[in-house]
């Protein structure tokens, strides 16, 4: 039917709406079948895979947490020996940070950002496919080695000299370091895609002050990734070199420096926390608007708070090193900067409360998670202010107080908004609603289980219980609280289990959602649920920050794009004025080949430096295939 009407250079303006849809579907859809699935560059399919994979790693990391709680429930328990325990806590941290928290936030962005800015695909879609395969390979590397009893056992921070050639025997630390390479590679790729998507592919009219706050938060996050990740790549690569070819970056006996590792690691590691936290903040701002039914109070202040947090996050790393013996005056500077980050955090909290104050709360599950977020995150933020103080930190550093603090920030501050966000965007992604009554139970179990599990850890830390111990002696006064914490962890785990069950059940049998079940104001709700392969039949044009509230009858759209090839609109950076029609890459299997060859090279290089020589040849071949000229114009005015 369509072929007869669609010729070269057919524009959407020339066609009736049903024909536009059919033609675009023909151009953009990913065919069914195994090879098509591997070759797809659709940001929604890749985003969905990313999200599912990240949640699978969350579940695995949760199992590790339960194992640790079983071991710590009783003093001198012999359930798990020190060797396995050290692998488990290292895996838990590395898995949750590198395989769950950062990727899941980027995954949400891969799915949502193109929809929220009103474009048809993410920038550099093949790089996007590549980043997913690399992430998956890095995750498998870590977990397969754990199953083979080769899992890293040096902590997710892998401090030298413990992880160095002299004390870190076997290949465990190398596997940790190379897993970093995988996940950083994929994170950097996604960060670049998001920056370009937000800068150049926003819908016409989406000026800087109309960008949805989740998109703003991902933009700031992407810059943090680009600026912070190179530091950890330098660190992990130097560690591999120390271990594999005998360089001495971190060997004090040969002029290296043990503390250099900590500076490099935390120069990445602290922004890392905000790489996880800022997207969650963006989700909170999004959810609050929809469920308070009011434009967010203090949009500009919130954007500035995001940017200020991003900048300040690079000036805090030394607060992880307060007891390493750095000069006291220098430490005080980092106390001040660590405290100062409470200001943008406070601005955000106050603006959200103000939005709720003047709004009309709609008591749905996502709002419950937002309220749970404010409750717990303020505790985590305040305990963050506590550990920012050098003398306070001298007592609680490396104790369970810190374990409590960062779980309040990471689970309360990031996972709560994320689960709320999943309840919110699930209908968009699957076309079906998650269960509202089950959602209330999920929230109740997770909220209560979380607080009962982690609050007592503050007390354990003050009672002198260090972190990362596989057991403790019966004469320490910790066993009562530890048993309580372990029992509470079961409640928390039950909440997550119920969440997974609800998600799986709703994906198949949830109520049909419709395009905009929450009466939400942003562009991702302007298309059907789930969205078609081309996202929008005609590119929306926006005149405010809340287009679906402002133009209730019909959204303004632009036309003039070709339907016979993948095209999207490129707009100017600040004013989002249309500049060009840009072609968007078709599906390709080359990113997969490039990821496979890169994976072979990186894993091989754990065992031999020659891998870099011989392994790079297939990588080069794959990249040549990927970048082979297509002899079609990339963009047209």
């Amino acid at each position: 039917m369509t072929e007869s009407v669609i010729g070269p250079d057919t524009r959407d303006a020339e066609l009736e709406r049903p024909l536009v849809d059919a033609a675009l579907e023909n151009t953009w859809a990913t065919a069914s079948g195994f090879w098509s699935a591997l070759a797809t560059v659709d940001h929604k399919i890749i985003g969905r895979r990313y999200i599912l994979t990240a949640f699978a790693f969350l579940a695995l990391g949760g199992v590790l947490a339960i194992l640790m709680r079983l071991q710590l429930a009783r003093p001198e328990a012999r359930l798990i020996g020190p060797d396995r325990y050290n692998q488990i806590f290292t895996m838990h941290g590395a898995n949750m940070m590198f395989l769950f928290a950062v990727p899941v936030m980027e995954a949400m962005a891969v799915y949502l950002v193109p929809l929220m800015v009103g474009t048809r695909n993410i920038a550099f879609p093949r790089l996007n496919a590549f980043s997913y395969w690399i992430y998956l390979a890095g995750g498998l590397l870590l977990w397969v080695s754990f199953v083979l009893d080769m899992g890293p056992d040096v902590g997710w921070f892998a401090y030298v000299p413990l992880s160095g050639p002299q004390y870190g025997a076997g290949k465990r630390a190398d596997i940790w370091a190379q897993m970093i390479t995988f996940t950083e590679l994929s994170a950097l790729a996604v960060a670049v895609e998001i920056v370009v998507t937000v800068f150049k592919q926003r819908a016409p009219g989406m000026t800087l002050d109309r960008i949805p706050l989740f998109v703003w938060s991902m933009l700031v996050t992407a810059f943090l990734v680009i600026l912070a990740m190179p530091s950890i790549m330098v660190a992990s690569t130097s560690l591999i070199l120390d271990r594999l070819v005998g360089t001495h970056f971190f060997n004090p006996a040969e002029g290296g420096d043990v503390l250099l590792w900590q500076h490099l690691f935390w120069f990445f590691g602290h922004p890392e926390v905000y790489i996880i936290f800022l997207p969650a903040v963006g989700m909170v701002s999004t959810l609050i608007v929809t469920f308070a039914r009011r434009p967010v109070f203090g949009y500009l202040a919130l954007v500035m708070a995001l940017i200020a947090t991003g900048i300040l996050s690079f000036g805090l790393w030394v607060h992880h090193m307060f007891v390493t013996g750095l000069p006291r005056l220098g430490e005080s500077f980092f106390t001040a900067s660590s405290m100062a980050i409470a200001i943008p955090a406070g601005v955000q909290i106050f603006c959200w409360i103000a939005t709720l104050w003047d709004g009309k709360p709609v008591w749905k599950t996502p709002l419950l998670f937002v309220i749970g977020f404010i409750f717990t995150f303020v505790i985590g933020g305040l305990s963050g202010v506590m550990v920012a103080s050098v003398p306070f930190d001298a007592q609680v550093h490396d104790t369970y107080f810190v374990v409590a603090h960062f779980h309040y920030v990471l689970i309360g501050g990031s996972v709560f908004p994320l689960i709320g966000g999943i309840y919110y965007w699930f209908p968009k992604i699957t076309g079906r609603m998650m269960s509202e009554p089950v959602g209330h139970w999920v929230f109740g179990l997770i909220f209560i289980g979380f607080n009962l599990t982690f609050f007592p850890m503050h007390i354990l830390g003050l009672q002198g219980m260090p972190r990362r111990i596989y057991t403790y002696q019966p004469d320490m006064p910790w066993h009562g609280l530890n048993l309580f914490v372990s029992a509470s962890a079961a409640v928390l785990a039950a909440g997550f289990l119920l969440f997974f069950i609800d998600a799986l059940r709703s994906a198949r049998a949830g109520l049909p959602a419709g395009a905009n079940p929450w009466d939400a104001p942003t562009l991702e709700w302007a298309t059907s649920s789930p969205p078609p392969s081309f996202n929008f039949a005609r590119i929306p044009v926006v005149y405010g920050a809340y287009p679906l509230w402002e133009q209730r009858e019909a959204l303004s759209v632009a036309d003039g794009l070709r339907v016979d090839r993948r095209e999207l609109v490129v707009t100017s950076l600040v004013a989002a004025e249309p500049e060009a029609r840009e072609s968007s890459p078709r599906n390709s299997i080359w990113p997969l080949w490039a990821a496979i060859t890169t994976t072979v090279m990186l894993i091989w290089s754990i065992f031999s430096p020659w891998a870099v020589v011989w392994g790079s040849i297939p990588v080069a071949i794959a990249l040549i295939g990927w970048f082979w000229p297509k002899r079609v114009p990339e963009d047209e005015a």
């Binding site: 413990l162 404010i374 202010v385 002198g464 019966p474």
Partner: protein, 336 residues
């Protein structure tokens, strides 16, 4: 030998019941700096609790006040927006004041902590996987002595701990006396500690250091200057020669087996330095870096099966017959 292990294997299960007099809590404080840290902790936690409660009151009020329905969400009450802007600005200003107060307070309490005097007693502590080597310095080098995992200090005097990491990073932490300080290879650190009251305080490694990070404890025993001097005099002396036959036999076994390659017993041919100095091991309250109270039974159990009691530690299993094991434990217990 296996029979001996079986016979003694019930011992470690009973030993912990004996209890422990040491404290290890930042809330149960007996050192000058730990006392002031506790005051700071209480002040900061109390202030933060008030802040948290104010935020929660605002949140609950925001959620529960009577709201007009919002059929057209984009319409905003400008007067309300203005009032909320003022409230947010006031709240941010209050935040700035609180954290400025914390920063200044933190700065001054840091300065107060690092004050050290001239007559300080210097003790050098090295962290090793997974025990603590403790060196005391006398007026002359022959007055120096070495011990392990148990540090005696006089009450009321400032002690300057010189902290060194000899293999990986460890962290020296006696929460009842002071905050922690890392022991970092290639970067010596110092920590000033002063005990206000006599007592036995437990410390534990606070930086992850490998397999037995969980069992790397030590004790600080604060006592009067006279008791301390008496203890130091005893520690300076070489080991006493065994008087009974069993202990004498034990000494012979100790010196002829691999034990002496790693351990030192001053006054004998045993001069190893890669493991704790055992010259006065019988006088120490605990063995195995806080693992068990020192008894003949616990010593025998430890020698018989160190890898089950502290898996992964660097003490190898030295095959001994039952009689040898009993003799060696008698010898070590006699090293008061």
């Amino acid at each position: 030998m296996i029979a001996a292990v079986k016979r003694l294997s019930f011992l470690p299960a009973l030993l912990p019941l004996a209890g422990c007099g040491g404290w290890q809590s930042a809330m149960d404080v007996h050192g000058t700096s730990a006392i002031s840290l506790k005051q700071l902790i209480i002040l900061v936690v109390a202030t933060c609790s008030v802040v948290w409660m104010l935020v929660m009151i605002a949140l609950i009020r925001a959620l529960t006040r009577s709201h007009a329905s919002r059929l057209t969400p984009t319409v905003v009450d400008r007067g309300m927006a203005r009032r909320m802007a003022i409230a947010v600005i006031v709240a941010v200003a209050a935040t700035v004041m609180v954290i400025t107060g914390f920063t200044v307070g933190s700065f001054f309490s840091t300065r107060a902590l690092s004050a050290a005097g001239a007559d300080d007693l210097t003790i050098k502590v090295s962290g090793l996987q997974w025990w603590w080597n403790v060196q005391y310095f006398g007026a002359t080098p022959d007055q120096n002595f070495v011990t392990a995992n148990e540090i005696h200090i006089p009450v009321g005097r400032t002690i300057r701990f010189q902290l060194e990491g000899d293999d990986v990073i460890h962290s020296f932490w006696v929460p009842s006396l002071a905050g922690k300080q890392d022991l970092i290879p290639g970067r010596p650190n110092e920590l000033s500690v002063r005990a206000e009251r006599a007592g036995m305080y437990r410390g534990q490694c606070a930086e992850f250091c490998g397999l037995q990070h969980a069992h790397m404890a030590f004790f600080v025993i604060a006592e009067s200057q006279a008791e301390f001097d008496k203890w130091a005099d005893a520690q300076r002396r070489p080991a006493t020669q065994p008087t009974d036959a069993e202990a004498a036999a034990g000494q012979q076994i100790f010196l002829s087996k691999p034990c002496a390659a790693c351990h030192a017993v001053r006054g004998t041919k045993a001069t190893g330095t890669s493991a704790p100095d055992l010259t006065h091991v019988g006088s120490r309250k605990y063995i195995g870096a806080g693992l068990f109270e020192t008894t003949r039974g616990s010593l025998a159990a430890w020698i018989a099966d160190p890898q089950t009691l502290k898996p992964g530690n660097n003490m190898p299993l030295v095959p001994l017959s039952r009689e040898e094991l009993l003799s060696v434990s008698a010898y070590l217990a006699s090293l008061k």
